[in-house]
């Protein structure tokens, strides 16, 4: 058999952040207590009408622009019909005729290489209620009914689970960067459907497409894709490719396999038509321009900026751009003229270490870029050592004081050259054996002398200066 290539497309549903739901005045907030955030329309009480949340439309348009999609001239919505208890109206308000974005393209990074991803469309819709099934009953929680959802549909342009997951991670970061979604898979805010087919390496003809629905973690997406590739390839190897049917399957986390739900032949006719209760709304060029200005610089752009223009490593840059607040902190440091690598080192080691350990965010931390600047300046001037700086770093945060409050004459570094020369001459005088051995070629004894200086000054001697004087005196 020829080598097989996987062809994968994704549908990514992401819940948006907003005060109220997308067509309802009820609060949009994750809540453990069921049926707390409900307005009459969320349970489809007769006579209720949808009212579009403009903020959700704005966010959807931003995502459309980020994905380099074409935006429609008019905003309107469609009804998608099916009967199920999670959908009280009997239809979902979504966008089919004129999605908020079509024909997009972005680049993402997979293993330090850029690949293009083609976007079929992105559309704004409402979430359904959540159901829990027990032995002989089911419960319905309408908190989620009407929560704004953006569904992003890619073209079948991925060829491995790694690429697909890299895209999902990329998009998760974009959502977070823009503050459009918390994009937390643990809260069920991101849910995916995956389309997988295989084809001969040299062929342009796509194989039979299998859809795997409701995969709710990125790990699950990866496993489901790999499972399907393996299942389809094995059937093909055995000459049983006809058994791969165009069908809908679901990912079962426990058994780690995909399970058939229904054939595409039995696909539901959703009987779409334009929602008559929401008048067409013209999207002006001016509004789009305004929204565009609100889009922050995104992580990939920042990352390449840091690498190419500030000389950071891919590794460090990746850490810095992971969260917008961290990248913003870093850029604030640059504005204050803290040297890029120094700032990067402080952030990636001390600051992130501290906030992770104490479960804080970088915004909470008392050590602002301006205070970090004070600290770094003192090191550069030689007033304090790096070791001291680290101690002061923690003190500033814990005691919420300024850096200068911790610089006393006692703690200050010894930078007085006279003082150090006297001390070093004293040490050399008291260590004739070591001096002799050193001069005989045992140069690693140099560290012994440095150690002696530090011991005598309780670590406060300026190490650079110490080494300079020692070199002079010993040679």
């Amino acid at each position: 058999m020829k080598k097989q290539i996987a062809v994968i497309g994704l549908e990514m549903h992401c819940e948006l952040k907003s005060n109220s739901k997308v067509f309802s005045p009820a609060r949009n907030a994750y809540n453990e207590t069921p049926n707390i955030n409900i307005a009459p329309i969320d349970m489809a009480f007769p006579g209720t009408l949808p009212v579009v949340n403009k903020k959700c439309v704005a966010d959807a348009l931003k995502m459309s622009m980020i994905l380099n999609c074409t935006q429609p001239e008019y905003m309107y919505f469609d009804r998608k019909h099916y009967y199920y208890p999670d959908l009280p109206k009997g239809y979902q308000i979504t966008q089919m005729t004129e999605p908020v974005g079509v024909n997009g393209k972005i680049e993402i990074e997979v293993k330090e290489k850029l690949i293009p991803v083609y976007i079929h469309d992105i559309h704004l819709e409402e979430d359904a209620a959540s159901l829990d099934h027990y032995f002989d009953t089911s419960t319905i929680d309408y908190n989620r009914a009407g929560v704004p959802l953006l569904e992003l549909v890619t073209e079948p342009c991925f060829h491995s689970a790694d690429e697909a997951v890299a895209f999902l991670e990329h998009m998760r970061d974009v959502y977070k960067y823009c503050g459009i979604s918390e994009a937390d898979t643990k809260k069920g805010q991101i849910r995916c459907d995956v389309n997988v087919s295989i084809k001969d390496e040299d062929s342009d003809i796509l194989g039979t497409k299998v859809e795997v629905k409701n995969v709710n973690s990125f790990g699950g997406v990866s496993d489901a894709i790999n499972y399907e590739i393996k299942r389809q390839t094995e059937l093909k190897e055995q000459g049983r490719y006809a058994e791969v049917e165009q069908e809908t399957r679901r990912w079962d986390e426990e058994s780690m396999q995909t399970i058939r739900m229904r054939s595409k032949v039995d696909a539901i006719d959703y009987k779409y038509f334009v929602e008559p209760n929401i008048p067409k709304y013209r999207i002006s060029k001016e509004w789009l321009e305004e929204l565009k200005k609100e889009i922050p610089r995104l992580h990939l752009e920042r990352k390449y900026d840091y690498i190419n223009n500030y000389g950071l490593s891919n590794y460090d840059a990746t850490i810095l751009v992971k969260e917008k607040d961290i990248a913003d902190y870093f850029e604030e440091c640059l504005k204050l003229n803290i040297e890029a690598k120094t700032a990067s080192n402080w952030i990636t080691t001390q600051i992130l270490g501290y906030i992770n350990k104490n479960d804080l965010t970088i915004k909470d931390i008392y050590l602002t870029p301006a205070r970090l600047k004070d600290l770094v300046d003192l090191i550069n001037k030689g007033t304090i050592s790096s070791k001291q700086a680290k101690e002061i770093f923690e003190k500033v945060i814990k005691e919420q004081k300024e850096v200068k409050d911790f610089i006393t004459s006692d703690s200050a570094q010894i930078n007085d050259k006279e003082e150090l020369i006297n001390l070093i001459e004293e040490i050399i005088k008291n260590s004739p054996n070591q001096v002799e051995q050193y001069k005989a070629g045992k140069t690693n004894l140099f560290d012994y002398f440095v150690g002696q200086v530090m011991k005598n000054t309780r670590g406060k001697a300026n190490p650079m200066l110490t080494k300079e004087i020692l070199t002079e005196k010993l040679n």
Binding site: F45, P46, G47, L49, V51, P85, P88, K89, K271, P279
Partner: protein, 485 residues
């Protein structure tokens, strides 16, 4: 007896203290029970309705009725359907709330064709509503109970809804005024939807002035209804000046010229003759009236376009009726069976038929041929009317092909000859046009009506013309007088 009077007359009596709100309500409730007994007009009579304080608001202290497809907090709201026969909402429709805020007192909920989906007043879950002029006749629908009650003098006005002609036809059959303003002038929030793009809220009264007063009180942009618009610049009551010299109306020749009906019944002949007689009165007012030709195909398409669009939207709008959250729940343990049982038991056969049509139309493979084409033809009809509204202030036509039909006449049998004459009021719903029916005479002791429809947002003009015409005829404020055939 006071409730045969107009709103302004009642308001003055209340202001002077010649009658109290409590007395009006007592009279209205007594009359409600009498009308319920005789004509079966109500779903609920609110015997505990409370008097309200008399203010400068014309509607304060005065009783009124609400069609039972409006959501009213703590009051049973059934849509005249068994699917909601136990449904007590916890919110009140915007238009009803606006009347409450002005001190108006709701005394009953009126029966309708199930969810407004009928034109006979016979498909209410509480049984058919009888015509107060003649109990062997229908009121037409769907606002049958409201029309019957206003015509009977239960109160000066009742709320209705109008998707095809559901206010304006029963008004004609009951000898009263029925007015639906431009789409979006009155909020639909709390109106149980039938076909959202065609549904209008409106009012049934015994005079044009009362219709203007009530709609003035209810109108306004509603944050719960995106299709509502700001109408602060419109004051219908003040617009009623009778200053109508130089206005122009048109009628559609194909519909009202008797030679187009070779097999015309004596009733139809009389109806059309009466229409032309009324046109003479209109001309006497200094209004120019002209006959206009409209392509026969376009006219003939009206009923089909209506059936397609209304059934499609209705199928969708009523998907929420599953009995899971509200309404009587099915007994099966399987959720699909539960829904099936609720809907099978709850809906009347007429509605089920419409759902089948609606689902068929919306199927992927049929949408283009039926649904999309119907939308296109709707647009053609509306464009044609708008062109004419550039020249004319309004369209004037007779309502229906005669007076109220008897219960023996089967409404399901379509008479191809008079089909469009029966259904032309649907034009007003296609375009969202303001449209008012007023009584213009009697045939066989049964009232008949005439309709004036104008361009969107031109409600003041349309009402003023109707007001002037009304003043030259003797049917304003009439109360049904029951006669035997």
């Amino acid at each position: 007896m006071y409730l045969d009077k107009s709103i302004k007359e009642l308001h003055e009596l209340l202001k002077k203290g010649e009658v109290t709100s409590a007395e009006l309500i007592k009279e209205s409730l007594a009359k409600s029970h009498e009308v319920e007994e005789k004509y079966n007009a109500f779903v609920t009579i609110l015997d505990d309705a409370k008097a309200s304080i008399i203010t400068d608001d014309l509607l304060s202290g005065i009783p009124f009725g609400v069609k039972d497809n409006f959501s009213t907090k703590d009051v049973l709201s059934t849509g005249s359907s068994n699917t909601l026969n136990n449904y007590v909402p916890f919110y009140t429709a915007t238009v009803v709330q606006k009347l409450f805020d002005k001190g108006a007192v709701m005394v009953n909920k009126t029966a309708l064709d199930e969810f407004g989906m009928g034109g006979t007043g016979t498909t209410c879950h509480t049984g058919p509503v009888l015509n107060p002029w003649n109990r062997k006749r229908m009121c037409a629908g769907s606002s049958a109970g409201s029309a019957c009650a206003v015509a009977s003098g239960v109160y000066p006005y009742a709320l209705g809804s109008d998707t095809g002609d559901s206010i304006r036809k029963p008004a004609a059959y009951c000898g009263i005024v029925g007015y639906k303003p431009t789409y979006g002038m009155l909020s639909r929030y709390g109106l149980f939807p039938f076909a959202s793009s065609l549904d209008h809220v409106g009012v049934l009264t015994r005079s044009v002035l009362d219709a203007a007063i009530v709609v003035d009180a209810m109108k306004g942009q509603d944050k719960h209804d995106m299709t509502s618009w700001d109408s602060r610049h419109i004051n219908l009551e003040q617009a009623l000046t009778k200053d109508i010299k130089g206005k122009k109306l048109f009628y559609i020749k194909e519909l009202v010229e008797i030679e187009n009906y070779p097999k015309a019944s004596p009733e139809l002949k009389e109806h059309l003759a009466n229409f032309h007689k009324t046109l003479e009165i209109v001309r006497g007012l200094g209004i120019e009236v002209e006959g206009v030709n409209i392509a026969k195909d376009l006219l003939n398409s009206i009923p089909a376009v209506y059936v397609i669009l209304s059934c499609a939207e209705a199928t969708s709008n009523m998907s929420n009726l599953t009995g899971i959250i509200f309404g009587p729940r099915g007994t099966s343990s399987k959720v699909t069976d539960m829904m099936m049982e609720h809907r099978t038991k709850g809906f009347s056969p007429l509605i089920k038929r419409r759902f089948v049509i609606g689902s068929y139309i919306l199927q992927k493979e049929n949408q283009e041929r039926y649904f999309k084409n119907a939308q296109r033809v709707r647009r053609l009809i509306v464009d044609e009317m708008k062109k004419l509204f550039n020249i004319y202030d309004g369209l004037i036509l007779p309502v229906s092909s005669g007076p109220a039909k008897s219960f023996e006449q089967n409404d399901d049998v379509i008479d191809e000859n008079t089909n469009v004459l029966e259904e032309h009021l649907q034009i007003g719903n296609f375009g969202g046009f303001p449209s008012i029916t007023i009584p213009n005479g009697f045939i066989d002791n049964l009232p008949v009506g005439i309709n004036i429809t104008g361009n969107c947002y031109d409600d003041e003009n349309v009402l003023n013309i109707a007001y002037a015409l009304e003043s030259k005829m003797n049917y304003k404020g009439q109360i049904a007088r029951e006669v035997e055939e």
